[in-house]
């Protein structure tokens, strides 16, 4: 009998490298974290599965005509997926607390400190300018912005940057409190701020997304697609006349895009590309960016605390990042730990909504600054 045909059955296992095996294990860990620890399961689960798929040899699934290859070309190279996600986020975000308290916008800007500091550190570590900018953008703590920017500037780092951004997003409750504890005094943490009721008219709510889109597009044209998608979603929400579109943006569009986005990002986690010292640097720099963002927001909060004659709770600054509304909730929980009668949630929501906006603008600014080199 001729057994040579059986070799066909062994061809795939023989192609398997140790890197593939390690990456499949990492994919398994991501799935484990999603299921057991509830770490951003909406993304880490599909990413984990995508990572396993892409490391199975000879499947052709990530090839030009493979499912994941086609999805990558259609949704990531074109940046459509992150923009679709932003339409959904815009529809989900209530900018009311920010409109009630426009000075919170300052905190949303301060919360982007990490992006720029990390960019500089990454350059010093030997990354190219484009790579450094993509790594810095992890500091936006904003998955879609990170995907959007790095797919333009450094597509070869997309896998580690995305995994890093989403992992840290899920770690907001673990990473922020120690930073807040280290940088604030007991007196600062327990500043009480009564809820200030300033009703925002429907006209303002409707005009806000339109005006922001025009202003940001004129200042930073490269940020226009990001901000326009976010604001389009928000306009659908605030118009109050297109309930079906609002529902679709918040649910069907977001869910479907997230599903494809996750598995496609996972498919970039090829062992040969992923298992490099670079990935470890990115993980470390991303964490640094996140901590610096929180610190930047807190420092600005402290300045406002001093300027307001100790009436402004500096913790609110820490929510000037984009993890909306998670960060605001964490700040409320943290403040209540020290004084259960202190409710700064609505103020923190304002700063958090500003952070959502700030990270998108920061992503656009980074793209604009580097546009000459693209």
């Amino acid at each position: 009998m001729d057994f040579s045909n059986l070799k066909v059955l062994l061809s795939a296992p023989l192609e398997l490298t140790w890197q593939n095996v390690v990456m499949m294990l990492i994919g398994g860990v991501l799935i484990f974290l999603a299921i057991k620890k509830d770490y951003e399961p909406m993304l880490l689960l599909p990413i984990g599965f995508g990572a396993i798929l892409t490391n199975l040899p000879l499947t052709g699934i990530t090839g030009e005509d493979g499912m994941l290859g086609i999805l990558y070309k259609a949704g990531i190279s074109t940046e459509l997926f992150p923009l679709f996600v932003f339409i959904g986020i815009g529809a989900m975000t209530d900018f009311g607390p920010l409109l009630e308290n426009p000075k919170m916008a300052i905190l949303g800007a301060a919360g982007q400190l990490g992006i720029f500091v990390t960019l500089i550190i990454a350059i010093l570590l030997g990354f190219s300018l484009k790579e450094a900018a993509s790594i810095g953008i992890i500091g936006a703590i904003d998955g879609p912005t990170a995907i959007y920017v790095s797919s333009k500037l450094a597509p070869h780092l997309l896998g580690p940057i995305t995994v890093c951004a989403y992992s840290y997003m899920s770690l907001v409750p673990i990473i922020q409190p120690p930073v807040m504890r280290a940088l604030t005094t007991m007196e600062e943490r327990t500043v009480r701020m009564p809820y200030s009721q300033k009703p925002v008219s429907r006209l303002v709510r409707v005009l806000f997304p339109i005006v922001i889109t025009i202003v940001v597009s004129l200042i930073a044209p490269k940020a226009s697609p990001l901000i326009a998608a976010l604001m389009f979603g928000n306009l659908i929400r605030e118009a109050l006349v297109v309930d079906r579109l609002n529902d679709a943006a918040q649910n069907e569009l977001s869910n479907l895009t997230t599903l494809f986005l996750g598995i496609t990002i996972g498919s970039t986690m090829n062992g040969m590309d992923f298992l490099k010292p670079t990935t470890l640097y990115i993980l470390a720099l991303g964490l640094g960016a996140f901590v610096l963002d929180t610190a930047g927001g807190l420092l600005m909060g402290k300045i406002m605390y001093l300027l307001s004659k100790k009436k402004f709770n500096p913790l609110i600054g820490a929510s000037g990042i984009s993890a909306f509304p998670m960060s605001a909730r964490i700040i409320q929980r943290f403040a209540a730990e020290y004084d259960f009668e202190n409710f700064i949630l609505m103020h923190a929501m304002g700063s958090n909504a500003a952070g959502q906006l700030g990270s998108v603008v920061a992503g656009g600014v980074v793209l604009a600054l580097l546009s000459g080199t693209i």
């Binding site: 009480r192 009564p194 809820y195 509304p325 605001a328 909730r329 409320q332 209540a336 949630l345």
Partner: protein, 146 residues
Amino acid sequence: MKEIKISFNGKKYDVKVGDATTSPVEVVVNGKSYQVEFEAESSGPVAPAKTASPVAPVVVTTPVVSTPAPVTAAGNGSGVRAPMPGTIVAVDVKAGDKVTRGQQLVSLEAMKMKNAIRAPMDATIKEVYVTEGAKVQYNDLLVSFE
């Protein structure tokens, strides 16, 4: 701002009084800010606040429209108000219950976050004004104490 430390019925209060020559005067009790207006019978706006300590908490309890519930200078006739708008998702006490400081009275969901509204002091519940599912506005009375 003038800082005064007082104790009233065995409870300590940090009181800061703003410019007492104006009305309303800003008075901060334990970090909460109140706008206090003087009644006509008081001899001009200057006198009461300037005499400092014992007067301050009494001044605070004279209610002025739309200020938050005073942090209850005395336990009597006080209550707990909604610190922000939201929906009541749980009511953990009923009239007649004795509660201790820090005990959860109701749970208020705002911006999809559940917030425990706790008793600011040891007290007996006189009346509960909200039920599960009730929507409340800022400063609505939730629970009153005897």
